[in-house]
Assembly symmetry: C2
Homo-oligomer: 284 residues x 2
Amino acid sequence: MLENLVILAPGLLGGSVAKSARAHGVARRVTLWARRPEVRLALRGQPWCDAVADTPEAAAAGASLVVVAAPVDKIVELVRAIAPHLPAGAIVTDVGSVKGEICRLGQAALAPRAHFVGSHPMAGSEKTGWEHAGAELFSKRACFVTPLPETDAAAAETVVKFWRDLGAEPVTVAPDAHDEIVAHISHLPQVLASALGAFLAQKNPAWRNFAGGGLRDTTRIAASDPQIWRAILEQNRDELLRALRQFQDELQAIQAALANRDWLEVTARLERAKVWRDGFRPLV
Amino acid sequence: MLENLVILAPGLLGGSVAKSARAHGVARRVTLWARRPEVRLALRGQPWCDAVADTPEAAAAGASLVVVAAPVDKIVELVRAIAPHLPAGAIVTDVGSVKGEICRLGQAALAPRAHFVGSHPMAGSEKTGWEHAGAELFSKRACFVTPLPETDAAAAETVVKFWRDLGAEPVTVAPDAHDEIVAHISHLPQVLASALGAFLAQKNPAWRNFAGGGLRDTTRIAASDPQIWRAILEQNRDELLRALRQFQDELQAIQAALANRDWLEVTARLERAKVWRDGFRPLV
């Protein structure tokens, strides 16, 4: 059991880490810090919060494990701020959607006295804010843990165990491999959902009133926070552009088959997609 | 109340029409016909089925309202088959996802003795078959009713009332206007979901094991039946190609903004999509 779990900047994900840690008995003490005073005040009243610190530095002082739950463009500055205040041997992780830069800079900020091990749970929502947090958000969800070659193996193992204790299914990969994967399975889908929404908004927004389940589901994540996503797309721009260009080849191929009335080719591509989608493991 | 509601070729949609008609007390009698003998046998045992006919012609003989629930490429042949057997003044509708050609040929097959009025409920599932049918499938869902200028107004009104009685929200539009709308809000999302699935299947299918909710939702409909969708895309090919080309302009614009690191432009498009998506009416 962790002695003192510290969560910085809890939103949907950080709040869920706190709730889940309490529900699963993962930490003796859960300490939070939030940037806005009114959030700190509200957090003080939550049963899954043992202490609220007034600064990230104060929160870090007695930490066993720190989870930095800030947006991707704020993570490194928080890691740098708390670095001198961490106990020796403390471990810092995050929940950011891009890992390469964050892991390299996090490692540089902490080593050798403390350890940075990146994380990225594949859980979330188009909703934001700790008010939407849930103790089972990570249950059965993949969670990437992304040590660098020089990362302390015991620290990485602690982070893997932490996510497993919250109900997630940890997957260890290198930060850059992670960024290639999520460019395809998360950032590309986000861009497609947003592009579809932006297109239909210009075409005729009233048509959304006729939406069936297909349009609802394919565009649900278009309601996500634009600022959070701008920061993610910015940090993973190169991998995303590569994925986007390759996806457009697929889209062009389907378009060409439609234009040529090549129904065998159209059906083959629909079939390939169905086989792939049918292979998803069920969400229990 | 309808005297005899006849449903031909009940799958997910036709079965749901039957269940819903029974649940909402819309018809005194519900008669079904299915192509396969084993399905006819199974339907005989269902509480929402009063009679099963051995042929579509026999089913049509005493019909007040016929719902042709076959795939879009089989609808017109069924309408032509039953035409000589319908009572004078009977009304025939369908649940096909494309309306222009079906409505013109349906009208030509039946007029002036009986009436064809096209329908398209915006409800469904990636699952198929009457076993997945549900009495509340149409509840609060838009349902297009697509009379031609020459369609009998009273017949169109009967079809509108029918869908309203099943809990749907009928929307009357011309068949060609319908086809433009669904090219954008249904067929384009289907093609995008399938293209994304086909692309990721080739890239690395194992990545699907890491899927978060975003990838799950954006690709759910990629599991739809390829044959059903081939027929829909074939009938609405021209409108779909137009929508697809215009969508690609939006996608190219986002790609260009990413490539140029024009984060204001990226954010503006994410924001436009969010405002559009936030405007969806809630599904109660």
